[in-house]
């Protein structure tokens, strides 16, 4: 009987100093199936893939291709075996064309000259066959993330790869693009390609995968048929306990106005129009207000204006009765504003600093951390950081001295949350705080937001995730093209109505055109 597995990883064990990253893991990918690999951040998915690509040599275990044992020493070996991967962070040269990126490394040449015409025909044929729309001559820097991803997929197909690995492919996509990607994956598997789909988003796995292998803390938990399982069961396998999908919170009556925004206008960096146009709202103590909307409708700039990252063009921002429109970022911070930024690498952490130094970024000047002579009190910093690490369960390789860069995304986010919440802020501005995180971490962060609210602080949440918008806040403000177009009560609205506001079809505050 013919072997039914395209690739098998049997009993893989990979040990790093101090940690068993993979402990006797088995993964069997059937020919032509879509197989999901599910696990939280740090469960060992990346390590397992690195073993498959020959970046690490496992201490134990074997890899079989079509039933025959193979040795994979480096990525070229994997490529020769027909294994290709779309990395989470695309490996594309930005100033090259789509075509150049696809052929890079396997360029067709004649007498030493590149044969781009030939390559273009092959790419167009592939793009037609699998429904992957790309413009071969466009530069990567000019095209959408979705098209960049299709370029990565074409890279694998151009090399005639049979085993396609998608590493968290949906993290960077819009809902429409995710739907398209799912269809592409189904097309690919229908054409006989075997697909390994690495993810921690349960709904996507349920929608597209045939089977699912679950890892937890480096251990193999099991492989299940997706048709025979449910989301709660999968999440239980992944996290090791029941996960509450619903956010639990009791009703509260909001108190004083903490943040009062009047007529705020912020310029855009991308175009000449203002990104935020004459926006007014307030946030009171003991409530969570959520700014909802499709990405790019001015939410980012609104937060930049509130937090002082960008100057505002017009309007006032009043916090606790004090005008902070033109206050410095430190003034805002010292006066009780905390900010969980949208881009945690750009505005949240200094990636090459240690965890402890990141913890005191906004407070290093306080007497607790700086002596009168101006030197840092290292011992105090260490004990403070260790207290936060302990309290917020921030996991890292070497504790307080770990470089922030080497930590997983979820733990980087936890570190930021620890730092921002420990200030006991009167106002917490949290921008997409759960982006790219797994269910366990999301649940944790939602609990923290609710705890802030219950402690009587004001919380302004900016979110793109419909589910988050519907469950976490007490009030929803929808932004569309830089304006607030609706105020909704999450208890009385539904996703459909929200969608109408988000797409601009409904607007409660439309200003009458001036005569």
């Amino acid at each position: 009987m013919e072997n039914q597995y395209a690739i098998e990883m049997l009993g893989i064990t990979k040990i790093f100093p101090g940690i068993i990253a993979n402990d006797d893991i088995t993964l069997q990918l059937k020919k032509g199936e879509i197989h999901a690999l599910l696990g939280e951040n740090g469960a060992g998915k990346s390590t397992l893939m690195s073993v498959l690509f020959g970046l690490y040599q496992p201490e134990k275990g074997i890899i079989k291709k079509d039933g025959r044992q193979v040795k994979i020493q480096n990525p070229n070996d994997a490529n020769d075996l027909g294994i290709g991967m779309v990395h989470q962070h695309f490996k594309l040269v930005e100033c090259f064309s789509v075509l150049d990126n696809i052929i890079l490394g396997v360029e067709p040449v004649k007498n030493g000259f590149l044969q781009k015409k030939e390559a273009k025909e092959k790419i167009l044929a592939l793009s037609e066959k699998y429904g992957l729309k790309v413009d071969p001559d466009a530069l990567i820097e000019d095209i959408t993330v979705g098209m960049q991803q299709r370029t990565e997929i074409l890279k694998m197909l151009y090399r005639d790869n049979e085993i396609l690995i998608f590493d968290e492919p949906t993290a960077v996509l819009t809902p429409q693009e995710i739907e398209e990607l799912m269809q592409i994956m189904r097309n690919l598997s229908a054409e006989g390609k075997s697909i390994l789909f690495i993810s921690h988003k349960l709904n996507e796995i349920m929608a597209v995968a045939d089977r699912c292998t679950v890892l937890r803390k480096g251990k193999y938990i099991g492989t299940v048929n997706v048709a025979d399982t449910t989301m709660p069961e999968l999440s239980r396998m992944m996290v090791g306990r029941d996960v509450e999908f619903a956010v639990k919170k009791e009703d509260r009556t909001p108190g004083d106005v903490i943040l009062d925004v009047k007529g705020l206008t912020v310029a855009s960096k991308l175009h000449k129009n203002n990104a935020v146009k004459d926006v007014s709202f307030n946030v009171r103590s003991g409530e969570i207000v959520c700014i909802a909307g499709i990405d790019g409708n001015g939410q980012t700039e609104l937060v930049y204006g509130l937090t002082g990252l960008e100057p505002v063009k017009a309007g006032t921002v009043i916090m606790k009765g004090k005008d902070i429109t033109h206050a410095s970022i430190r003034e805002r911070s010292v006066n009780g504003m905390s900010h969980i930024p949208e881009d945690r690498h750009k505005h949240g952490l200094v990636l090459d600093y240690s965890l402890e130094d990141n913890m005191i970024l906004q407070r290093y000047f306080e007497p607790e951390f700086t002596s009168k002579a101006g030197t840092l009190k290292r011992a105090n910093i260490r004990s403070y950081a260790e207290k936060l690490i302990d309290q917020y369960d921030v996991r890292s390789g070497q504790g307080a001295i770990t470089k922030a860069r080497s930590m997983s995304g979820g733990n980087q986010q936890k570190a930021i949350i620890a730092r921002e919440l420990d200030k006991a802020p009167d106002l917490l501005i949290a921008v997409q705080p759960t982006r790219g995180l797994d269910v366990g971490a999301i649940e944790y962060i939602h609990k923290q937001l609710v705890a802030q609210r219950d402690a009587g602080h004001a919380v302004l949440l900016v979110s793109l995730e419909l589910e988050e918008v519907m469950t976490v806040p007490d009030r929803i403000l929808v932004m569309y093209e830089g304006e607030i177009v609706g105020e909704l009560d999450p208890k009385k609205t539904n996703a459909e109505e929200l969608g109408l506001y988000m797409s601009g079809a409904k607007n409660d505050f439309r200003k009458e055109a001036a005569v």
Partner: protein, 312 residues
Amino acid sequence: MTLLVQYTLIYASVLILVALGGCFSEHSGVINLGLEGIMVMGAMGGALAMKYLTGSPAFVVILATILASALTGLVYSLLLAVACINFKADQTIVGTALNMLGTAAATVIIKAINTAANPDDVSSVVQYIESKRSFIVSFGTFEFNWFMLVTLILLVISYILLYKTRFGLRLMACGEHPQAADSVGINVYKMRYAGVMISGFLGGLGGIVYITAGVSEWKFENGVVGFGFLALAVMIFGQWKPTRIALAALLFGLFRALSNVYSGIGFLSMLNIPSTIYNMLPYMISLLVLALTSANSRAPKAEGIPYDKGAR
């Protein structure tokens, strides 16, 4: 006027060669600040070849001089490659060290050679007046220099190499996104070595063209008086693209040529501006041009960052 054209072309040739050298190095991802030093070493290699081949047939002199200067530059550039690619040293510092070492080493070597021949001669001067004639073909008042043709050929080859071949595509990928290049099986270290060695080859050749452009002997204590840096400015102004580099080099070459020939141009000599002003011109122009254009300049993204296979 022909004199102005002649000097413009020969100085532009120098700048084209050296800037192309920088262009290859930077496209591979290594900043080559050591072009100045590489030029000095190349100039020394070429000047010695010319000195010892005095009286040989023109063809032999031309070929040997080109090879001697280019290979000296190439070997010297290996220092940069080893330090920056293998040992991941800071490219700016290594480049600066190369510049200081270049002039110093050339001075020491030439002095040693001179003193060995004549114990009273402690100068760092090499003469090559005889051999220089081999390079020049006169058309009326215009002195054509074979280096001009060599430069043109190398310019065309560089363009083809960068944009039409597999090598060029891979080289530029290493300078833009080495992780991407690595992930498709390209050996980033090898490509960077290639980039740096080509820059040594072209930089060394540029060195000999420069010191033979206007004079018949060279005092190596002077190095190449900042021409390597001027070439860097040309490279940036030329946006790391061969054709634009050629145009930028012509512009800067013109200003450099003015200082050689302004006294022969009627209205300029009437203006009575001190010659030092003309000497300063190309450098002042480069400051001005870079100040105005660098906001839009687009250097290879990964240049200056040592490539580490393990880093994410």
